[in-house]
């Protein structure tokens, strides 16, 4: 597997979205390629940090949106 293809797939590697066969090929490449492994590490850290952020909690309820729709229909 080429560097370009591996790098294209790195985000999906971190997110564990690759199917088994592709994942094994990528991992085989990463074991022997220092530069792609470095790229992977550079993605892992910020993705892990971002994953700790809570979801925004307060969004408007159904009544708010109904009132909004009513207001633009008048």
């Amino acid at each position: 597997m080429s560097h370009a293809i591996v790098r294209w797939l790195l985000y999906d590697v971190v997110k564990k979205k690759l199917d088994e066969k592709v994942r094994r090929e990528v991992e085989r490449h990463l074991r022997t390629c220092a530069s792609c492994s470095k790229e992977l590490r550079e993605l892992e850290k910020p993705l892990a940090e971002l994953s700790t952020l809570p979801r925004p909690s307060a969004f408007r309820d159904e009544v708010f949106w109904r009132a909004f729709v009513a207001s633009i229909e008048r």
Binding site: Y11, P46, L50, T52, P56, R66, V69, A70
Partner: protein
């Protein structure tokens, strides 16, 4: 523009009347009905997309406060309402709506950016409550640093990281929103994440930025 809560309250029956939203109901047929002036159909669209919370969340990720996010979401729905008759359906309604939200959120973000730089440190101190433990304060500060580092990224990088990673849109969906290739989305995603990593490392090495504007910290990179 007209916004919920700006004018006299609508009659109670408007707020309580149910428009039947069957789970499998095809969105295209609802859009067609809305185009033909079916008020109930438009309301279904608003309810579907506001219920998903994407609209508000995406706006919130950019502007950082719920009131502004709700304003942006309303403006986006209003724009859809006004332009629905010209909607051809080349992209999905969701893609169109997300595109409007991102555009409006980024425009608003630029307007408030300078003001935010000046007020952020004051807000940080005023938001601290006596009841919070040291651990909670440290965690809040850490989250604030991440959020602010994200907001300090170049526009496209921030937008792509937000939509792709935080809101879970696919690379294809993000590429449709920005009308670019999936390769371009990945390029901005990778650059954004690397940029974010550098900002976070800087904060870790330099300690807390709580006592000064974070924007000031980031411009030193």
């Amino acid at each position: 523009m007209s916004k919920a809560g700006d004018s006299a309250a609508p009659p109670p029956d408007v707020l309580t009347a149910k428009c039947l939203d069957e789970p499998g109901q095809d969105e295209r047929s609802i859009i067609q009905r809305a185009k033909e002036g079916d008020r109930c159909a438009f309301r279904l669209l608003v309810e579907r997309y506001s219920r998903q919370a994407y609209i508000n969340n995406i706006a919130y990720r950019f502007v950082g406060d719920h009131d502004s996010a709700a304003d942006i979401a309303q403006e986006a729905f209003l724009k859809v309402h006004e332009a629905l008759s010209s909607f051809r359906g080349d992209a999905s309604l969701g893609t169109w709506l997300y595109r409007i939200v991102v555009k409006k959120a980024l425009t608003r973000k630029r307007r408030v950016h300078d003001h935010e730089r000046m007020t952020v440190s004051i807000q940080e101190f005023s938001n601290v409550t006596a009841a919070e433990s040291t651990d909670e304060l440290v965690e809040r500060e850490r989250q604030r640093h991440i959020e602010r580092a994200l907001r300090e990224l170049p526009t496209l990088q921030r937008a792509v990281v937000t939509l792709r990673h935080l809101e879970g849109l696919s690379t294809k969906q993000v590429s449709e929103i920005f009308k670019c290739s999936e390769g371009t989305v990945k390029t901005h995603l990778f650059r954004g994440l690397k940029h974010l990593r550098r900002k976070l490392e800087f904060l870790k090495e330099g300690g807390s930025c709580l006592t000064q504007s974070f924007a000031g910290c980031c411009t030193m990179l």
